[in-house]
């Protein structure tokens, strides 16, 4: 029989990113004199990660089908602003919709998700019916969303100011906790588990992988590739919508600048977390870990007093390394 020898090249291929990132985290820990690993820091990181996890989970659906989605960040921004305008106190002086009564917090949540799903379906339709390359279609959508959001928030009497007077019942959603664990962490973990089940235990999940792996073969095997594409973009949009709403609840405000470049972080987290940019490969545990590690590095580099511009340099290197490995792992040269 085959003896299983330790294959260093393969091990590095599969784990080099985690090794690099562990080294960075260890360096941060040493430089900060161990203070980095305090409960407070960890909780901050997890809270920040929560919203990012939702964006990355949505983005993962699209990447798994072999497509791209650049509209995520701006969708987060739009959802944040829209839910903010639906969750203001009646007494707030420059209330966005003066006639609107105080709504229960569930309303902005539902509206944000619905809005995201609609935008996602448009994306999916443009990509799979009009055959516009996903990269460009969603880039266009990114611009449209930002424009629409800026126009919306500019409405008198608000005139582009950051939204204020957010209901405390809504803010509770972003900052409240049970047994010291915030709701948003619970929501993010629950969403991750739900997506994991969807992908490993349902026909829809399996078909998403099949479409990403070989769309032509998927079609021959009776899978409706158009419908799968539409559904994945819609799910992604729903997640962006939810993320935007929670971002508003967490910070107690919103502007049209919210969500800037979240989609790039999400895509990077997916790739670092083991999704193949070509589609068909990936999973929730990897993506979850990818997001958390990214945020640890983000936070950590700030924590030890490094200029925030260094974060971009480090992230860029990590992304390029991840793609280089991806190409070698799933490239066609074998």
């Amino acid at each position: 029989m085959e003896t299983r020898r330790f294959d260093l090249k393969k091990f590095l291929m599969n784990n080099v990113l985690y090794v690099i990132m562990l080294v960075i985290i260890a360096a941060i820990a040493v430089i900060s004199g161990g203070k980095f690993f305090s409960m407070r820091v960890m909780r901050d990181i997890l809270n920040q990660s929560s919203v990012r996890v939702l964006v990355a989970l949505g983005c993962m659906f699209v990447i798994l089908t072999g497509q791209a989605d650049l509209s995520g960040g701006r969708m987060v921004g739009l959802a944040a602003v829209v839910s903010g305008t639906l969750a203001q106190q009646a007494t707030y002086a420059i209330k966005f919709w003066p006639g609107l009564p105080e709504l229960p917090p569930i309303v902005p949540v539902v509206v944000s998700i619905a809005l995201g799903v609609c935008v996602g379906m448009v994306n999916g339709w443009v990509v799979s019916k009009l055959k516009v390359p996903a990269f460009l279609a969603t880039l266009g959508m990114q611009m449209i969303l930002f424009g629409a959001n800026s126009l919306y928030i500019n409405k008198a009497p608000n005139n582009s100011q950051p939204l204020g007077g957010i209901l405390s019942s809504f803010k509770e959603l972003g900052s409240g906790s049970v047994f010291g664990v915030t709701y948003i962490i619970i929501i993010a973990v629950a969403a991750a588990i739900a997506v994991h089940i969807l992908q490993t235990k349902t026909t829809l999940g399996k078909q998403i992988f099949a479409v990403g792996g070989n769309p032509e073969a998927a079609r021959v095997n009776g899978i409706n590739v158009f419908m799968i594409t539409l559904v994945t973009y819609a799910i992604a949009g729903g997640f962006y919508g939810l993320a935007g709403c929670l971002e508003c609840a967490r910070t107690g405000s919103a502007t049209s600048a919210y969500g800037l470049s979240y989609e790039l972080d999400a895509i990077a987290s997916c790739i670092v977390g083991g999704c193949s940019a070509g589609g068909g490969v990936g999973g929730v545990p990897g993506v979850f870990l990818g997001v958390v590690i990214f945020n640890v590095i983000n936070y950590g580099l700030t924590f030890i007093g490094l200029s925030s511009y260094w974060q971009y340099v480090v992230k860029g290197i990590i992304i390029i390394t991840a793609i280089a490995i991806d190409v070698r792992k799933y490239g066609r040269n074998d």
């Binding site: 085959e2 294959d7 393969k10 089940i197 490993t200 235990k201 349902t202 026909t203 399996k206 078909q207 992988f209 099949a210 792996g213 070989n214 032509e216 073969a217 998927a218 079609r219 021959v220 095997n221 009776g222 899978i223 409706n224 193949s276 068909g280 490969v281 799933y330 074998d334």
Partner: protein, 513 residues
């Protein structure tokens, strides 16, 4: 010829990939001016050995000598510079460029206009012309865009490029698998011309009659090891087959033991929505019948069957299954109506490369509403999916380390068996196979034939498109022959001859025979 100069010597080559020893101490001696055939079942290591000779892989152990000089081949360019070229179907030319640009790519002739070097189109044209003329190829215009050329012309182009590098050894991997008989003859003529000029050809093929016809020496491999090298004159079909599979093969086809029942599928006046494709085709298939579909490349056989399966739109036509007219607009409808289609292009539309054996097996069945793999809560039962897959892995004797292996890591024959398992799992009444044994070794072929026989024995319909005459004649109960999108005749498989089929395939007559 056996005493002519040794041009390529590969000694004690070994090469491992994670989990597999692809080559184990293999040696190969190729002499100038000969055709050296390399044979073996899929996964025997032929392609791996040749990729080592062409610098695509680097052997773990062993030595390669060209003209008696030990060489290290870093990459294909190095191999070509040292005189080794490879004609491989997957090494595609650049389709948007023309013939001469493809041949001289990276080595364009330049002329100086003032100080600026310009590509010397005139010289390039003249060089290409004389290169092609030297090979006896007169019908390729050097300025034609490669995308417009046929498969066979693309292959000739690759050969011409190899010659332009001053190749001493040209490796051809399954060169005739997508050529018509006429094109094959042309290729053989060019091979003869090349050997006369002292070039050695290493010829990989599963087609034994071709090998016996053109090869001087035959090397046979099995499971990554060398079985031996013999002069072709000392071999015959039975000897080759038994040395390839390592056991005696009594027959190439399983015994026929099925009864043909009533009509089950009827295709009425099918006309494609694409005016260049098939027109007005009617035929029927009975229960327990194998209907062979013959014809030349371009006869639109694949297009017809993909329309039956709902992958291509029809302009008009009716499909009747078991006496009931059905509408099939996509593959989902087809599967729901008990039709299965094993497509011709295994890589392009068959396998989902990075997914494992289980996912590749259950994918078609799960598009049915059957929910056979669901638990009570509506979730998939992954253990049940694996168990069902294991059944087919056992039944079809699929060679794989485990069910979690990505299908792209299997050999071609084993991939094909997984795809067959995929369709058997849908329990089809009508199984359409498009070139089911292309590029597959003898042993696996026999297993696929047995499976077809088993299907018809159960009263199911099998439709098989095939360009391999022995298989078409050996397996079919009736043979439908197409020519340029028309049905040119349906003949009885038991009495049909080679000539009959070829005649129908090359000449369309408006009245069915």
């Amino acid at each position: 010829m056996a005493d002519s100069k040794v041009i390529l010597q590969m000694s004690h080559i070994s090469k491992s990939f994670p989990g597999v020893k692809a080559l184990d101490d293999v040696s190969l001696t190729v002499r100038a001016g000969t055709v050296h055939a390399l044979m073996g079942e899929n996964g025997a290591g032929k392609s791996t050995l040749m990729k080592c000779a062409f610098g695509l892989y680097h052997p773990d152990e062993g030595e390669i000598q060209i003209d008696g000089v030990p060489v290290t081949l870093q990459n294909p360019r190095a191999a070509m510079d040292k005189g080794v070229s490879m004609i491989h179907q997957e090494l595609q030319p650049i389709r948007t460029q023309n013939v001469m640009e493809n041949i001289w790519i990276g080595r364009y002739p330049y002329k100086k206009v003032g100080l600026i070097p310009w590509v010397d189109e005139k010289k390039m044209y003249a060089d290409t012309k004389s290169l092609l003329d030297g090979l006896g190829i007169h019908d390729i215009d050097p300025r034609r865009t490669v995308g417009e050329l046929s498969v066979s012309h693309c292959q000739l182009l690759e050969i011409a490029r190899a010659v332009s590098y001053g190749a001493k050894v040209i490796i051809m991997d399954e060169p005739t698998s997508s050529l018509t008989e006429v094109e094959t003859e042309l290729l053989f003529k060019i091979i003869e011309q090349l050997t006369r000029q002292g070039v050695a050809i290493i010829y990989i093929s599963h087609k034994i009659d071709e090998i016996l016809r053109i090869a001087d020496e035959v090397t046979i491999m099995r499971d990554g090891r060398l079985v031996g090298t013999w002069p072709a004159s000392e071999l015959n079909t039975d000897l080759i087959v038994s040395r390839m599979v390592g056991r005696e093969m009594t027959s190439r086809f399983p015994p026929k033991d099925h009864r043909i029942g009533g009509e089950y599928l009827r295709v009425e006046q099918f006309t494609s929505a694409n005016p260049k494709s098939f027109k007005d085709i009617s035929f029927s298939v009975h229960r327990g019948e194998i209907l062979g579909i013959g014809g030349l490349v371009g006869a639109q056989r694949t297009e017809l069957m993909e329309s039956v399966f709902g992958l291509r739109p029809l302009a008009s036509g009716r499909l009747v299954i078991n006496g009931r007219e059905v509408k099939i607009e996509n593959a989902h409808d087809a599967i729901a109506n008990g039709i299965a289609l094993l497509t011709e292009e295994r890589r392009a539309s068959g396998i989902i490369p990075m997914l494992d054996i289980v996912e590749n097996t259950v994918v078609a069945d799960e598009t049915k509403e059957a929910k056979r793999f669901h638990t009570g809560m509506g979730l998939l039962n992954n253990r049940k999916r694996a168990e069902e897959t294991q059944k087919y892995v056992d039944q079809l004797q699929i060679k794989t380390p485990d069910l979690k292996t990505a299908i792209r890591n299997l050999s071609g024959g084993n991939q094909q068996k997984v795809l067959l398992g995929r369709w058997m799992l849908t329990e089809p009444d009508i199984l359409i196979l498009d070139e089911p044994t292309r590029g597959i070794d003898v042993g696996a072929k026999y297993e696929i034939y047995s499976l077809m026989e088993e299907m018809v024995r159960q009263g199911k319909c099998v439709i098989m498109i095939s360009s391999e005459m022995p298989e078409l004649l050996g397996m079919s109960d009736r043979i439908l022959v197409m020519c340029e999108g028309h049905l040119s005749g349906i003949i009885d498989g038991a009495t049909a001859t080679d000539e009959q089929v070829m005649l129908l395939a090359s000449r369309y007559e408006s009245k069915a025979v």
